[in-house]
Subunit: 227 residues, 2 copies
DNA sequence: TAGATTGTTAATCGATTAACAATC
DNA sequence: TAGATTGTTAATCGATTAACAATC
């Protein structure tokens, strides 16, 4: 019963929108710690994270009561708590699949290591790449996927493969036992319900900005026409 | 009055959540077109885009009435309409600032070109990089930013600079007249209200997946404990 | 105690979804 | 006309926010 209650309070009840912001709070708390700041109010932390302080307090309330009324939050305590709930107290092993243009950049991205992850394996299907060394890791054959996942205890895979190969690679990754996938290929992937899938669609990000550019120029036209 | 009404119907009233999905619909429609499919129902298009068909129809209804009852949507018509509303009928010039690890990968990303964007300039502060050629573009000095923005009519900037430099670079980009920014640096940037800012936080994406991994292992523990 | 700040309540807002009348 | 599918309504759900009692 104790276990059940703690799990419910810890993670089952944290809204998705809150989870997404916890990562930002953790990063900002790290920056405060670097500046030797040990205590922070919700107002200050919210400002640094670019959110409303009511939202910040609501978000933190899902984790429990870690603040001190009249004082604020202890940076260290809150950092530990958020890291624990995000599961980044253990360094997680990540497999990066697709070692092309984008894949090589991701392999060398320092932010993964500093924020709780270890790129434990690089895989590709290209004979040209297999066996070569990228960022001190030997690129392995995608055919060895299942073995690599088991050996390295991989729970998260990052897909940086061409769109045409993505669903096939995704199926193989799922079959190998991976339950979380971050997809950079611009395709809608189908995964079983027990697998978590997130995507980063770079061109879509620009298209969303483009929409707002359009809106801004239309507004300017009207303002100009009316002047 | 005509202009005012058309703008209101076109873009002012499209919800943010819808805008973000329009980019996906556009991509899926392109794939259908490649397969010579000329008509598609909301049910089919929704399935291909990974959303509920009611949501798809609601999203499209913000653009106007482009479907035919009893038949579906004409792929070409819908493609043109979404492209128009996203402002990608004109190819937009993008400046990429920061030509390091990630920046070089983004400079070579084909998906930008194929989905309405042209990387028109690469800029960096490093003397080692300035003057060198990356992807057939000469890397220019960030000091020349304002000139480049004017010459190339840049409306969108992509920031792939180190976290420590991001706010400074952002301020300069805004001062040069850029009104849309896509930020890859893991920092919260402050921009004036007239500037649109989106961010891609790669490590945060993994941390969100990590949270769910945690939840899954906790659930497995309970199931195991109760078995 | 007085001042400050949290954690929570409740109202509001925006997004999702099922259901179905309109209509091709 | 009969069948199919859109566009819209209305109910529901989840997220945001202001306000403030609780409490350090």
């Amino acid at each position: 019963m104790t276990v059940e209650r703690s799990v419910a309070a810890d993670s089952r009840t944290v809204p998705e929108a809150t989870v997404a912001r916890l990562a930002t709070y953790l990063r900002v708390l790290g920056a405060l710690s670097d500046r030797s700041i040990t205590t922070v109010s919700s107002e200050e932390l919210a400002a640094a994270a670019g959110v409303n302080s009511a939202k910040l307090r609501k978000d933190l309330s899902y984790l429990g009561s870690y603040g001190i009324r009249g004082v604020g939050y202890d940076v260290r305590t809150l950092t530990d708590e958020i890291a624990r709930i995000l599961g980044v107290t253990v360094r997680r092993a990540v497999a990066l699949i697709g070692v092309g243009n984008l894949g090589q950049a991701l392999a060398g991205y320092d932010g993964f290591a500093s924020r709780g992850f270890r790129i434990a394996a690089l895989l590709d299907a290209s004979p040209t790449l297999i066996g070569s060394t990228v960022r001190e890791l030997v690129v392995r054959d995608i055919a060895e996927l299942e073995q690599v996942v088991t050996e390295q205890e991989i729970a998260i895979a990052v897909l940086a493969v061409p769109a045409s190969a993505a669903q096939d690679v995704c199926d193989r990754v799922v079959a190998a036992g991976v339950t979380s996938i971050l997809n950079f290929a611009p395709v809608v992937l189908a995964v079983p319900a027990h697998v978590d899938l997130r995507k980063v669609d770079l061109a879509a990000e620009l298209q969303i900005l483009s929409f707002h550019e359009n809106r801004k120029s239309a507004a300017a036209l009207i303002a100009g026409g009316m002047a």
